[in-house]
Amino acid sequence: MSLKSSVFSSAVLLGSISLAGCVGHHANELAMQQANSDFQAVKEDSNVLRIAPKDVIRAGESLARADRLSSYWGSGQDVEHYAYLSQRYSEIAREHTQKVLNEERAAKLDLERQRLQLALREAKLLSVQQQGKWLEEQIISLATTQTDRGLVMTLGDVLFDTGEADLKNSANRTVLKLVQFLQLNPKRIVRIEGYTDNTGGTEDNLALSLTRAQTVADMLADLGIDEKRIQVAGYGDQYPVDVNATERGRAQNRRVEIVFSDEKGRLGAAR
């Protein structure tokens, strides 16, 4: 009997120790519920399972441990602890998953960005090409004629006064277009040919025609066209395009002609 009573008292004593650990039982239940619902959520998310399986397993293991401990007396602190760890693992799994999903999306977006960049570059190039074509049409329409010498553009009419080599301001627009055209067609070269009316002596006219051509050539060079692409020639009063008998005819003959090479830089022979 004495043995039995001492066993009994020991049991009571142990029981009361265990009971002391049991305070806050409801708090544990709550923690377990939260950990459990968090775990269920990540367990059923296929992305989380694919990306962070280890964290899901650890969340499950911690939860199982908390669950096992909760059936014992005096393990309140441990239950709460493992429920906490389980919840943390679930959260970490979600964060890892979100990060990898973001990265996967970023990889796709980066491809999209590269594609768009390429498309934009092509569009810009196309617009430059179209602009070039448009300019070419403009140049051609600017009193250019396709002759046996090639494409010829005439800066004429009223651009020079009699005996003068200075280009009038009204020529600026035409020259600027010419510059743009040459910039867009870097392989084309030009020969600038000066002409005069028949006023004055032949020698003077040859010199004057050359000076007129050189004026235009200098202007092109000043505007950034490589001088190597520009040839200059003066023909004096030769090759008139109109009669020298009238003032109007003479004005037509005071001119500079620009002969363009083909696209590969082949220029027709000089006169």
Binding site: K4, V7, F8, S10, A11, L14, G15, I17, S18, G21, Y72, W73, G74, S75, Q77, H81, Y84, L85, R88, Y89, E91, I92, E95, H96, Q98, K99, N102, E103, R105, A106, L109, D110, E112, R113, L116, Q117, A119, L120, A123, K124, S127
Partner: protein
């Protein structure tokens, strides 16, 4: 005699509860490393409550170590480790989100330019 299994069970349980835990030195090292790692990726205790929690729990674990309450030290350190890992994960997720935002902005801009170019 019928009371004997109950007694044994209770004794085992009590022993489990009372058994002195070994000093969790390795866990503390792990926790410290986790904290360092979180800070290395740019986590800040001021705007990351998980990191703040981790720091507080590590401090408590260290105090528990001094008092030789090894079980408490281990619990605090284990929780602090996961708090720090969560803080680190959150920072990395934030960064990936920011990168995503940058990309989206660039794509929007490119689309706009492309629409204008055509």
């Amino acid at each position: 005699m019928t009371i004997r299994p109950l007694f044994t069970a209770l004794a085992v349980l009590a022993l489990a509860g009372c058994a002195t835990d070994p000093a969790p030195n390795e866990q503390l090292r792990l926790t410290e490393r986790a904290l360092d790692q979180a800070k290395a990726v740019g986590a800040n205790a001021d705007d990351m409550p998980e990191l703040k929690q981790a720091e507080n729990k590590l401090a408590r674990a260290q105090a528990d170590m001094v008092e030789e309450s090894y079980k408490d030290a281990r619990i605090q350190a284990e929780q602090a480790e996961l708090d720090a890992r969560l803080a680190e994960a959150r920072v990395l997720t934030q960064k990936s989100q920011e990168q995503l935002n940058v990309l989206n902005t660039r794509i929007t801009r490119l689309r706009k330019q492309l629409a204008e170019a055509q």
